[in-house]
């Protein structure tokens, strides 16, 4: 195989390789017809692919079809980088979902063998307006590997492109795509499945009003955190930029196959649907919107 990569494509190829290096140890470079090359990680538990078009041509056949995913989020890569910044670098997995109230929420995922009474939980919640597109039902969520997500995010950020997140139900792979005239990147990550209903954990004590510490008034504090969000605040800077028109990869023929080597079923902790996302009881009284002076904040 002998090829020549010219001009700005060298940098694109370098960044693709850098990004893939954060996902796996080996790179699989496959020459295709019409002088395209496809860079991918060898099929293992999570086979992402990054297609780097070295010549203009028709798009390649994808194994994983974003168009078949009912849920889509699109945001500038920078917003997503900032969204995951509060999470510890040691955290393995993160849960992404849409809460009642249409906020987009990232939450740390506690692995099975972690002691919940010792581990700190972090959650980041953003207004849907920060997203160029949000087509997802409230309550939809997936859990995936944070380290790999950070890897593909840094690639998208360096290319200054928005990232599309296509996802389906937990257990089905999530497809992260970026596109411009030079490149077309599809990253596929496996997501954790939901447990059987019978193995689901019992509802946690203290979620409702019956807490041993009599924190009744504070049970509404989680609602309170959303009340902060609804306060009128001063916005510096422009409104969200209009989305770059970037057609999703359309030419899918093949049925998306079962993801080879999907990780074994893991219990999906109902922690994510704790008091924040799906309050087990409605607030005792309608909370007033705290309409402070828009000048008064910050």
């Amino acid at each position: 195989m002998k090829c020549l990569v010219t001009g700005g494509n060298v940098r694109v190829l370098g960044k693709a390789a850098h990004s893939l290096s954060r996902i796996g140890d080996e790179l699989y470079l496959e020459p295709l017809e019409n002088g395209h090359y496809q860079a991918a990680r060898p099929p293992q538990a999570q086979p992402p692919r990054c297609k780097v078009l070295m010549k203009e041509c028709e798009s390649l056949q994808a194994i994983f079809d974003p168009a078949q995913c009912p849920n889509l989020l699109r945001a500038p890569a920078r917003v997503l980088v900032e969204a995951v910044a509060p999470f510890s670098p040691a955290l393995s997995e993160v849960t992404l979902g849409v809460s009642p109230g249409r906020r987009v929420v990232f939450r740390s995922y506690l692995e099975e063998d972690t002691d919940a009474t010792k581990a700190m939980m972090t959650e980041m919640s953003l207004n849907e307006e920060e997203f160029q597109q949000l087509e997802a039902q409230e309550g939809a969520s997936i859990t995936f590997c944070l380290k790999e997500f950070r890897g593909l995010l840094s690639f998208a950020e360096s290319a200054n492109l928005p990232l599309n997140i296509h996802f389906d139900v937990p257990g089905r792979p999530a497809i992260f795509t970026i596109e411009d005239s030079l490149l077309d990147g599809h990253f596929v990550l496996a997501t954790l499945s939901e447990p059987d209903l019978c193995s689901q954990e019992p509802s946690r004590p203290g979620q409702g009003a019956h807490s041993t510490m009599h924190l009744d008034d504070f049970a509404n504090d989680d609602i309170d955190s959303y009340m902060i969000a609804m306060e009128t605040t001063v916005c510096e800077g422009a409104a969200v930029a209009p989305c770059t028109p970037s057609p999703l990869s359309e030419e899918e023929e093949a049925e998306p196959s079962v993801v080879p080597g999907t990780p074994p079923l893991k219990k999906f902790r109902s922690l994510f649907f704790g008091s924040v996302l799906a309050p087990t009881e409605p607030p005792c009284e309608p909370n007033p919107v705290l309409a402070e002076d828009s000048d008064g904040e910050g």
């Binding site: 900032e82 969204a83 910044a85 509060p86 510890s88 919940a116 009474t117 010792k118 581990a119 700190m120 939980m121 972090t122 959650e123 980041m124 919640s125 953003l126 207004n127 307006e129 920060e130 946690r204 203290g206 979620q207 807490s211 041993t212 510490m213 009599h214 924190l215 008034d217 504070f218 049970a219 504090d221 989680d222 309170d224 955190s225 959303y226 902060i228 969000a229 609804m230 306060e231 009128t232 605040t233 916005c235 510096e236 800077g237 422009a238 409104a239 969200v240 922690l271 704790g274 008091s275 924040v276 904040e297 910050g298």
Partner: protein, 280 residues
């Protein structure tokens, strides 16, 4: 038991963050005591700590714009929590540009200190980062373990040299020896000494000044040149010095000969006491 507090001012937030960072460098776990006027970070002198103890006291009004608490009972209007201070520091680290930070006691999957940070965003509503830090509620019958330490009956009290200088000296000494002798007299002189089979090194500090304590029997008849000394674990001394992020308004230590070294750091609104026992 209820607790909720809010910080709006960025200067107050930075200050509180620095205190939290210092505490997290001094103790892996500690007790957070909440009262209507003050917060305390306490480490009691258990064997597990090597006999080291710490008492850090903050006036809540200097940090929080809102502060409400209700203790375990009307006549015991306080809350004692066991906390990993590093978690608090990590949570506050995400609040660098925050508009507000709320801290409250909640009951999620277990008792937690929930830190809710409101961050600016380009949209019409803020981003919210929420951290749930698990804490242990300490029952009232154990509160006596965490009483304020009394100032020991010291032999010498002396102001410390510039902490940064002291730290860099001790850092180098740590590579040579596990123990250091700290000695001082009432003439404002302090020495740090290490000794091995091969070498003895002494660093001399002069003209430090001796604080005047109100107590009558402050060693008046002590020969002012006489040194009081204590041999202490060098890592514990370094841990104390390395944890300091800001120059205190006042820094002094009290030495009880061959028994204990008691450090006192005073800032405008925070005081920190640290006790390191002498080795036999």
């Amino acid at each position: 038991m209820r607790f909720r507090a809010k910080i709006v001012d960025l200067g107050c937030l930075n200050h509180f963050t620095r205190v939290s960072n210092t505490i997290s460098k001094l103790a892996k776990t500690c007790t957070l005591r909440l009262s209507p006027d003050k917060l305390y970070f306490i480490l009691s002198d258990k064997v597990a700590n090597g006999g080291v103890s710490m008492w850090c006291e903050l006036g809540q009004g200097n940090f929080f714009d809102e502060f409400q608490m209700e203790g375990v009972a009307a006549d015991h209007n306080e809350i004692y929590l066991e906390l990993t201070p590093e978690n608090l520091s990590r949570a506050l680290k995400t609040a660098q540009n925050a508009k507000t930070v709320k801290i409250k006691l909640t009951n999620k999957h277990c008792p937690c200190l929930t830190v809710a940070v409101e961050l600016p965003s380009l949209s019409s509503s803020s981003r919210i980062v929420t951290h749930d830090i698990p804490v242990g509620v300490i029952p009232r019958k154990l509160w006596t373990d965490f009483r304020e330490p009394t100032v020991p009956d010291f032999d010498v009290s002396i102001y410390l040299p510039v902490l940064k200088t002291m730290k860099s000296v001790v850092e180098r000494m740590k590579n040579i020896s596990n123990h250091v002798v700290i000695e001082a007299n009432l003439k404002g002189e302090m020495n740090l000494k290490i000794e091995t089979d091969l070498v003895c090194i002494t660093t001399h500090f002069k003209d430090l000044g001796n604080p005047l304590w109100a107590s009558e029997d402050a060693s008046q008849d002590r020969d002012s040149e006489n040194m009081a000394e204590a041999r202490i674990d060098i890592k514990k001394l370094l841990q104390f010095l390395a944890g300091q992020q800001v120059n205190p308004t006042k820094a002094l230590c009290n030495i009880v000969h061959n028994r204990i070294v008691h450090f006192i750091l005073l800032h405008e609104d925070v005081s920190l006491q640290y006790f390191i026992p002498a080795l036999s």
